[in-house]
Structures are given as structure tokens and as C-alpha cells.
């Protein structure tokens, strides 16, 4: 199976600041890759380099077998890119926006395709409404429909489900999986853990560097995290107070409330056990070692970088 995306050493700097740092990525055809990372980690920038919107300062690669530096025009015809910020025309109606997309791609049977897309969206009654008047979630759904119109072979989706309700999200993922089964390759960024778990594979990026790739299980295993879940032993015990005491203790890298429970963990098992020793002797809480979740892993990774640098 050939790779739909294959890039090596992709690097982008803005005013001397490295935003994407020697990133290499391979996505086989027909796969859904979840692209994750904190805000400002370089996800959008990477996607823009893949579709030719930004020129990489270093590195090279291919999308759909075409060189991202020299053949971006041919790449553009075969990809669907959904931008993070709504980028359809707010002063055109739903139908006019889709029609414009169809025209610039020179699609045959344009009218029928546009009508079909509108119907699939369930917007037939509102197709003459201006796109700018749609609610946030509907804008996202319209944008997705627009970038699927020309039946691309590769989809680059930048937070496609931000602000979308659970039912529409579920439909979105069903649609994506159905298309992937037919050979469409998808790279999707998201901040939702449940969505990450719906992907065939995930890639985690922080400060422009790729920290982990693989299936969810592989990434969790690779993180080598030991976690405990802590429950109050009686009504008077407050996990909130415990959390405050645990934070900052050497060896403890993760303290995250999880409903009434608390997740506590660390990368170095021995150090963690040693650090927890005095707390576990207290009778107020019940400690149980459990399997770390993807979220535990990400939260543990996040404070590793200074927050000031990761923000724009």
C-alpha cells in the first residue's frame, strides 16, 4: 500500500522561531490519522505545508505521490482542506458557496452535485441563507461538505468538529470511516480524546516536534506511565485538597481530577511509588493502580514544556 502522505524533516520558522521542527510523518492510504497537540504546537502550520500554502524552510515530502514543493498545484486538485477558521464566503449563500467550489474544480453535473450535497447536509430548506448567518456548528458542517464536493483523495481537516454537537460528531466520524474504507486518506486535528481514539493512528506534536506516533495503545504503552486512581474512603475526604498537596512533589508528574476520582501518575515508576508512599499510608483515600488513558498521557506531556512558549 502506497503512502498518501510521506514527509521528512519538515521545518518551518516564523521570524527565526521554529514552529515546526524536523517533522517526519507517513500516512498510508485509506488511513485516518489523528493529529494531536496543545494549542500553538504547530498542527495548522504542518497542514499548511502539506497542501502548499506554506513553503517549508527545510525538509521535503510527497502528498499523493506529488512533491509538496513543486507540484502543489496538482496536489490542490486532489485534496480537501478544511481550515480551522471558517473560510467560506459569509456573504454568499449556502448554495452559492458550494456552487463556487464546484465551479473552480470544474466538476461535471455541477448543479446535481451541489443539490445532492445540500440534501445530504439537510439544509435544503435553508439553501438560500447566507453562510454567515449559520450557527457555528452548521458552518463547520457546511465547510466539510464544501471540501468533499470534488471527491478528494486526501482530506486535511483542521479541527472539523470544534463546536459541533455530539450527534453530528458521531455522524461525521461514521462518514469519515465509510470514506476511508473506500480509500480516502484523512489527517484530522482534534482536541477531543474520544475522537483521537476513533482514529486508526495518532501523532502527537508538541512545540513543533513529533513526540509519538502509532495506535492509541502503542502511544500509551510508549509513554511508560504508571497511574493510580484515588477515591475518597469516606465522606469527609476531599480529593481536591489531596490534589493540591500532591502537585509539585518530585516524581509525581500527573495530578488530574476525574469526576470524584483523582488520577495520579508519573513516568518513573520507582520515583512515583516512593513519592506516594507517605500519602498512601493515610487512611482517607483508596488507591488503586490502573491502566493510563490517552488523556493521562497527554496531560503528563503537556507541562513538560513551558506554557509561555507554546502560546502565540
Amino acid at each position: 500500500m502506497s503512502a498518501a502522505i510521506e514527509v521528512q524533516g519538515l521545518t518551518k520558522r516564523f521570524q527565526g522561531r521554529t514552529v515546526v521542527d524536523h517533522l517526519s510523518l507517513t500516512v498510508p492510504q485509506g488511513r485516518i490519522l489523528g493529529f494531536l497537540g496543545p494549542n500553538g504546537s504547530g498542527k495548522t502550520t504542518t497542514i499548511r505545508m502539506l497542501c502548499g500554502l506554506l513553503t517549508p524552510d527545510e525538509g521535503e515530502g510527497r502528498c499523493l505521490g506529488l512533491d509538496i514543493r513543486t507540484q502543489s498545484h496538482a496536489i490542490k486538485r486532489q485534496i480537501g482542506y478544511m481550515t480551522q477558521r471558517f473560510s467560506l464566503y459569509e456573504d454568499l449563500s449556502i448554495r452559492e458557496n458550494l456552487d463556487f467550489s464546484a465551479r473552480v474544480h470544474g466538476l461535471p453535473e455541477r448543479k446535481a452535485r451541489v443539490e445532492a450535497a445540500i440534501e445530504r447536509l439537510g439544509l435544503t430548506a435553508r439553501r438560500h441563507q447566507l453562510a454567515g448567518e449559520l450557527s457555528g456548528g452548521w458552518k463547520q458542517r457546511l465547510a466539510l461538505a464544501a471540501c468533499l464536493l470534488h471527491q478528494p483523495r486526501l482530506l486535511l481537516l483542521d479541527e472539523p468538529t470544534a463546536g459541533v454537537d455530539p450527534k453530528a460528531r458521531r455522524e461525521f466520524w461514521e462518514q469519515i470511516h465509510a470514506m476511508a474504507a473506500e480509500g480516502l486518506t484523512v489527517l484530522v486535528t482534534t482536541h477531543y480524546m474520544d475522537e483521537a481514539e476513533r482514529c486508526h493512528a495518532i501523532a502527537y506534536i508538541a512545540q513543533g516536534k513529533l513526540l509519538a506516533t502509532g495506535s492509541v495503545e502503542e502511544v500509551i504503552r510508549g509513554a511508560g506511565l504508571t497511574t493510580f486512581s484515588v477515591a475518597p474512603a469516606h465522606g469527609g475526604a476531599e480529593t481536591g485538597l489531596l490534589a493540591r498537596r500532591l502537585r509539585g512533589v518530585p516524581g509525581i508528574e500527573l495530578v488530574a481530577p476525574f469526576g470524584a476520582l483523582l488520577h495520579v501518575g508519573g513516568g518513573d515508576r520507582e520515583a512515583l511509588l516512593a513519592a506516594l508512599e507517605p500519602f498512601r499510608r493515610e487512611a482517607d483515600f483508596l488507591w488503586r493502580e490502573d491502566a493510563p488513558t490517552l488523556e493521562d498521557v497527554f496531560i503528563q506531556w503537556m507541562p513538560a514544556q513551558s506554557p509561555g512558549e507554546s502560546r502565540p
Binding site: G52, S87, L88, Y89, V104
Partner: protein
């Protein structure tokens, strides 16, 4: 994969898509559209009436060193013509300069000492009229009247032995001195010129905003990942405004005719064809600005910055031949200069295609050069 599939070539279909979209957006943006029609009308009415082709009651100062009957009679006739209104009697030379320089008076009539005596002797003394011709349109009719007056003003005074002076040349020599501006513009100069000014202003600013708007609203990111090529985007943005330009021209031509009675000597068709080059040249300038500006405000400012030399150095504001050498050189580089020659040539002098060919050629060169710059500047990426 062959080239056509690869989309390397220009595509009419994509261009049409772009144009179609622009038209819809233009139609939706009511305010801008109203402005595109409103600006020419407003300018036309303001400029048009301000230049009032036949101004009367112009403030005049009289410097009478003669105090004789003939001088007084002449002034009375000038006032009676309706063009002059005596607002000042001056006593010394210095006041002549002051009155004109400060714009207090438009004319100074100087009657020399012994004027009446010299007239009576048939010596044809000199009568000097100095005019502030900063705005020649204001003075030319009045001055024209004086020359006619000169023949008859003194008829009644030349009686008895002097009756012989009635025939032959006027009994005095009229000397007119146009101050500040030697070249007298004809009265209909401004309205046709306005056509070029309106087109320059609206065409440049509208297109300058067109691309920056896409960038500001974030739609550029989507537009850039479509297979649209720069030339398609540029032409797609420009063509709808060519239509707007023609609407503006038609409005002005009709108004020039109906409201101001400007004669159209030449062929309107010739003018319309020549204008497309001028309109496209301005649109290309606007497109170039929009590739340079980071936001709509900057694009707007660039538009005005371009507008200024055009209006000042093209011969619209000041007579072109009256400008200093360097200003004329700069003026030759501006499209408005050439367009003004075309419009005035066709409308007022009845120029045909052969006569304006050189000017159209100059506009064509300008348009091509700017288009190349625009396309070079247009980034297909976000960096």
C-alpha cells in the same frame, strides 16, 4: 498525468467561477455599490456647479488715476454687463497686488492718468485689466466681454467733434494680463476630466480592497487551495469592475450632457473603446496594492496616495502645459494624464481613433507593466 488534467493551463471555466462569485458579492454589498454610483454623481455635482461655466458678479477693484468721464463710463458699462461687481476703489499700486494675491478681487481695472484726454485726442491710451486666472474658467468669459465692450462703451461719450473716433479701432487699447495661470482652460474642461478622476478613484480602491478583504476575512486560505491560478483570480476580480466602470462612465456622460450641456463633438464609441484600457490599467494598480497591503485600511490609504499625484499632475487640477518641467515628466507616467487627453480630445475637439492612438498605447503599456507586477506580487502561499 497530462498537463490539462494537472491544471497547469489557464481555464475559462475557473475564471468564470471567480467572476460569478465576485458579481454576487458585489451585489450583496449594497453600501459599496451605492457608493460606486454615488461618488461619481456627488463629484460631478460638486465640481460641476463649483466650476459654474459662466460665473458673474465677480469682485472687481478699480484704480482710477484719471477721474475723467471716459473712465467712469467704461466702468459703468462693465458693471452693466453683469460680469463685474466693483467692490473696491484703490489708490496706490501696492493695493493691486494685495487684492489679487489674497483673492479679495478677481479683477483690477487700471485707468491711467490722462486717459480721457488721450482718448479725446485719438491717441488710443492703454487700459489695463489684471485678472486672477487661477481658475481660468472663472475669468475667461468676463474678459471676453470686455473686449466686446471696448468697441461700444464710449460710443455715447464720443459726440460732436469726437464722433469720428466711433468708427475704426476702439478708442483705447485694451491690455489684459492673466495672472497666476497663463493657459486658459476652456469652460468644459472639468466635466470630462471628472470622468477620469472618478474612474481612477473608484476603480483603484475597489480592487485594492477586493483581495485584502479575502485575506482579512480568512477566505484567502480556502481560495488558495482551490486550483485557481493567479491570473484567473486577478481577471476574475477585475472584470466585474470593468462593468462598474462603464456604468460610471455612462452616468457621467449623460449628466455632462443633460445637466451641464457639455458638447460631445467626437464619437462616443471611440471613447468607450479607448476607456477600457484606462479602466483595466487602474484595476491592475488596485490589484497590485491589494497584494501589498496587509489590511483593508492600508489598501485604502495606498489608493488615496496614488490618487493624489494623479489628480494634481495629470492636468486635471492645473493646466498640464503650465506645470514645471519635472511635474510634466511625472505627469506623463500617470494614466490619468493620458486619459484626460483622450476624453477631452474626443469630447471637445472631436478627435478620432488616429489622433488618440498614441495616448491609448501609453495606457496599454502602463497596464501591461502593472499587471506583470501584480501577478509577480500575488502570492500563492500564505508565507
Amino acid at each position: 498525468m497530462n498537463r490539462a488534467l494537472n491544471g497547469q493551463r489557464f481555464s475559462w471555466q475557473r475564471l468564470r467561477a471567480m467572476m460569478f462569485k465576485e458579481f454576487i458579492q458585489m451585489r450583496r454589498d449594497r453600501l459599496t455599490f451605492a457608493m460606486m454610483v454615488g461618488i461619481p454623481m456627488m463629484q460631478l455635482i460638486l465640481f460641476g456647479f463649483a466650476i459654474n461655466s459662466d460665473p458673474r458678479n465677480l469682485p472687481t477693484a478699480v484704480f482710477d488715476r484719471d477721474h475723467g468721464p471716459f473712465g467712469r463710463a467704461l466702468v459703468a458699462h462693465m458693471v452693466a454687463s453683469g460680469y463685474f461687481r466693483v467692490v473696491e476703489e484703490i489708490q496706490e499700486d501696492a493695493q493691486i497686488e494685495a487684492g489679487l494675491a489674497l483673492g479679495r478681487v478677481q479683477f483690477v481695472v487700471s485707468i491711467p492718468e490722462g486717459f480721457s484726454r488721450e482718448v479725446a485726442r485719438g491717441r488710443r491710451p492703454e487700459l489695463l485689466i489684471e485678472a486672477d486666472a487661477t481658475d481660468p474658467a472663472a475669468t475667461s468669459n468676463a474678459l471676453g466681454t470686455v473686449s466686446v465692450l471696448a468697441w461700444h462703451a464710449l460710443d455715447r461719450e464720443l459726440r460732436g467733434p469726437l464722433a469720428g473716433l466711433r468708427s475704426g479701432p476702439p478708442p483705447f487699447e485694451l491690455k489684459m494680463h492673466r495672472r497666476y495661470n497663463q493657459e486658459g482652460i476652456t469652460q468644459y474642461n472639468v466635466v470630462p476630466g471628472l470622468m477620469g478622476v472618478v474612474l481612477t478613484m473608484t476603480m483603484v480602491i475597489m480592487t485594492a480592497l477586493a483581495v485584502t478583504r479575502e485575506r482579512e476575512r480568512g477566505t484567502m486560505e480556502s481560495l488558495l487551495v482551490t486550483p485557481l491560478r493567479p491570473i484567473e483570480v486577478m481577471l476574475g476580480k477585475i472584470f466585474p469592475y470593468v462593468v462598474v466602470g462603464y456604468i460610471q462612465m455612462t452616468l457621467i456622460l449623460v449628466a455632462a450632457r443633460v445637466i451641464f450641456g457639455v458638447p460631445v463633438v467626437g464619437n462616443i464609441g471611440v471613447l468607450m473603446v479607448a476607456s477600457v484600457v484606462f479602466i483595466m490599467a487602474n484595476l491592475a494598480v488596485g490589484f497590485t496594492f491589494s497584494t501589498l497591503a496587509r489590511n483593508q485600511l492600508q489598501a485604502m490609504q495606498m489608493g488615496f496616495f496614488y490618487f493624489l499625484p494623479n489628480i494634481l499632475l495629470s492636468g486635471f487640477m492645473f493646466p498640464f502645459r503650465g506645470m514645471p518641467e519635472w511635474a510634466q515628466r511625472v505627469g506623463e507616467l500617470l494614466p490619468l494624464t493620458h486619459f484626460l487627453r483622450i476624453v477631452r480630445g474626443v469630447m471637445l475637439k472631436g478627435n478620432g481613433p488616429e489622433e488618440i492612438l498614441g495616448e491609448v498605447g501609453a495606457l496599454g503599456v502602463f497596464m501591461l507593466v502593472v499587471s506583470v507586477v501584480a501577478l509577480k506580487r500575488y502570492r500563492q502561499t500564505l508565507d
